[in-house]
């Protein structure tokens, strides 16, 4: 079969266009919206903690509570509708992911009760890195490399904040960097990923 250079070029452009549209479909799945939501929650919660320290538990419990409810409802709805891209055995994976996160939170509180951290920054850094551990693990499971690298990046950001940033400014550091990284990843995969 012989074709001209122009026809070959046109074919390659069609290939690129179809591949881009497919990746955009993946990117615009619900994951990006949840990342945007959690990024905003981190930013608001950390800033709220910095400026209204006396309300720290109310801020985190209420915002994270809302976040968890929305995450569960969105995930449940998507599970029922089925995502456009199916990973083998994903129907069974949905419940396993839910159990994994539930167990992780349960173990988090068990570990905290055993380790008895000395101050709030320790508790916060512990919880942030544990959640990022879950991002890294799920990123590896599903080959969601943006989740994998996001988990690693925010872990590093948290460690920098814990070890290098003065305690009084930890929350001011975490809001734009940690929260911003999560928010930025969600925005990028939703609107700009091709």
């Amino acid at each position: 079969m012989d074709i001209s250079k122009e026809e070959a070029q046109g074919s390659l452009e069609q290939v690129q266009s179809a591949a881009d549209r497919t990746r955009k479909t993946i990117a615009s799945s619900y994951d990006s919206y949840l990342l945007i939501m959690w990024g905003l929650i981190w930013i608001v919660a950390f800033l709220g903690t910095h400026f209204f320290l006396a309300w720290v538990w109310q801020i985190w419990i209420s915002l994270c509570g809302i976040g968890l409810i929305v995450t569960f409802l969105v995930s449940w709805q998507q599970f029922r509708k089925a995502k456009p891209i199916k990973i083998p055995a994903s129907e069974k994976i949905g419940w396993r992911i839910f159990l994994f996160w539930s167990l992780l939170f349960a173990y988090m509180f068990i570990w905290l009760s055993i380790l008895r951290p000395r101050h709030g920054i320790q508790i916060n850094a512990f919880m942030c890195t544990t959640i990022m551990f879950a991002y890294v693990v799920t990123g590896l499971w599903f080959r969601s490399y943006h989740m994998l690298w996001l988990g690693i990046a925010v872990t590093c950001i948290t460690l920098v904040g814990f070890y290098l940033i003065p305690t009084d400014y930890y929350c001011l550091w975490m809001a734009p960097t940690g929260g911003g990284a999560i928010l930025g990843t969600g925005l990028y995969t939703r609107f700009f990923w091709k």
């Binding site: 070959a8 070029q9 179809a18 591949a19 549209r21 089925a82 456009p84 129907e91």
Partner: protein
């Protein structure tokens, strides 16, 4: 030497394979979403998928999710190899004409 593939080269089938190869191996795309991505009718997409399936380039799986029938498609290893060779052949044609 890389050769053009007559089955893949057809415009719609080329786009289908491009979309499928953009996914990770083992990932499947829903038939309805593929139709939307490529802006095709059910019949058109179905006919081309059948041709690709007969060549062993794609695998079509019909299943039920939440009691609704769903059809998922993925590229086989043979299909990915054939697609890669086709792309290499296209690039060779373009490079050859530049000399």
């Amino acid at each position: 030497m890389a050769q053009l593939d007559n089955i893949i080269h057809q415009t719609v089938r080329l786009q289908i394979m491009s979309a499928l190869v953009a996914l990770d191996p083992g990932e499947q795309v829903d038939f309805v979403y593929m139709r939307k991505i490529l802006n095709l009718t059910d019949g058109n997409l179905g006919a081309h998928l059948t041709k690709l399936e007969n060549a062993g380039y794609v695998k079509i799986e019909k299943t039920f999710i939440a009691r609704k029938p769903r059809t998922f498609v993925n590229a086989t290893g043979k299909g990915r190899d054939a697609f890669d060779e086709h792309i290499a052949a296209l690039k060779k044609i373009i490079e050859g004409s530049k000399k």
